[in-house]
Assembly symmetry: C2
Homo-oligomer: 319 residues x 2
């Protein structure tokens, strides 16, 4: 494997953002350790601002752009956790903020994004219409686009999860990271390898959204992709940028079933009292499905906890 020497981009990114984000805890569970026969450490980015790790990259990217020149505002397109992260960043930095969302995005995510003060503009639910809508707005108002994962600053920011985690827990054997567009996985793997940590970094994909595994096996990025999974945060494909980083820095990719993901989610609710989204907890599903982790010291990165709990609370409704 080619461990290119890196400058201290990750440390710089972490120093830049750390006072405006949560230093998320690493939690453990004797019960889960016993069930799986693994020494588990949960890095809880579900407890991060906006309920996901996304603010780390978004804040780093926006701050870096501000360092270089005055900016008029920030914009992105997203139906997921990146939308809320950009809205929070806009609020923290006092910048006008627009999030383009597909018309069919969940109302709860639209409302959360608006609640931080961002303007939400709806578009047709196609990748092309999302990009065209953003480009039309940028042409008019000159806002800065902040991509959800295909951007080095996003990857350096996301990698700060690894910076914190290695400070919190020493001598990990493995880190398991949810894999969608590949920003979080790339960042954690690059930081871990370039700083000489002796620890394997593994990406975890839903088995019916396994474009990254197929890309690595074919030694060529797979672009044809028809995902079918409950993990709505892991539907995206790798970019050339994240494909290249994963080839160079990630030790392996494993897949998990949706069934095991939901069982993992339920264990975390019942035994660890945390709200996690399916995409966020695939790492624990991998522990159940793959025996190589037995007896090892393994970090599970919980990437987010944004899940619609309306049904649950409706059962409590009363006058």
């Amino acid at each position: 494997m080619n461990y290119k020497p890196m400058n201290d981009h990750f440390i710089k990114a972490y120093d830049r953002i750390k006072d405006q984000i949560h230093h998320t805890p690493v939690l453990t569970s004797d019960t889960l350790n016993e069930i799986f026969g693994v020494d588990l450490y949960f890095k809880c980015e579900n407890l991060q601002k906006g309920g996901a790790f996304k603010i780390r990259g978004a804040l780093n990217a926006a701050l870096n752009k501000k360092l270089n020149h005055d900016i008029k505002g920030i914009i992105t397109h997203s139906s997921g956790n990146h939308a809320q992260a950009i809205a929070i960043v806009g609020k923290l930095l006092n910048l006008p903020t627009i999030v383009v969302m597909p018309k069919n995005a969940p109302k709860v995510k639209m409302n959360a994004t608006k609640s931080y003060g961002a303007k939400v503009i709806l578009c047709k639910p196609t990748q092309k219409d999302r990009e065209n809508t953003v480009n039309d707005i940028i042409a008019k108002n000159g806002y800065e686009m902040i991509h959800p994962y295909d951007d080095d600053d996003i990857i350096f920011g996301a990698g700060s999860v690894g910076v914190e985690l290695h400070q919190q827990i020493k001598d990990l054997d493995y880190i398991l990271v949810p894999l969608g567009g590949g920003g979080l996985l790339s960042g954690i793997a690059m930081y871990t390898k370039t700083y000489g940590k002796n620890c394997k970094v593994i990406g975890v994909e839903p088995e019916n959204a396994d474009d990254a595994l197929r890309s690595i096996r074919n030694k060529k990025r797979v672009t044809s992709h028809h995902p079918d999974t409950i993990c709505d945060g892991l539907l995206t494909t790798l970019s050339e940028r994240t494909y290249d980083k994963i080839i160079n820095y990630v030790d392996d990719i494993v897949t998990v079933s949706d069934y095991d993901t939901i069982k993992a989610m339920q264990l975390v609710y019942e035994r660890m009292k945390m709200v996690v989204e399916p995409s966020g907890i695939v790492g624990l599903a991998a522990i159940n499905q793959h025996s190589i982790f037995k007896g090892k010291k393994v970090a599970i990165v919980i990437s987010g906890g944004n899940v619609d709990m309306q049904n649950f609370f409706e059962s409590y409704n009363f006058n």
Copy 2:
């Protein structure tokens, strides 16, 4: 108020138990601070072993008994979080453990208690039958009773929440504590006052289970009590012991509606990504209902997170 000087029972209890419990995090939320106009610090005992603070007192009491003489086993009666705490303590200390539970206790709590290795014995759902069943067993096997709250060692152990909290956050104006039997509130208030912390400690009761408020107002312990609240962990009445401590060390008691408690619970799920039980989050409901906390630095003790989420997960069921 009569601040009797205390020996260092709380520090000793904390030193005794701290290596076998979780040092639970204090979490914050910008969004909740903004909604309520209060500087809020959540002490997360829902993330404690067994999903509640109860293990602190139970472990301290059992360890203290073991120091004084050999013990054959431990026993309690409980339909709630104390049951799981005793089961975990039995497992940690490798002691035979019996929990007497009323027949109508939730299956999920019975199963959790059994899962830690305790023997569950069912009885009729009356206080009298619970006590008689326990006494009959003790007469036969000589196990040690560990009461859920009416015991100084339990109060010293529960008070270790306060020891940790004051280490984690300095200069608090208020600490809000759920109030049922009064063990947790007594412990935190005694520690706070006897160690000279300049901070008010307030008990929070459901308005339809307000025996403590009525006791304080009448200057006599209320024993007639017909509670009607969704907060199943706060149904119990004060004992003479906790009544006396509350009179002496607690600054005030406030009540909250079940409606506000459920709204508080939903906010914590959606904005802080934590599972909390209604009884555990009455402190946040008090913030909404009482204006004295505006602009203050307030700790909310989240006492537990054991809630049945079967309905929620049934919505995910698939083959």
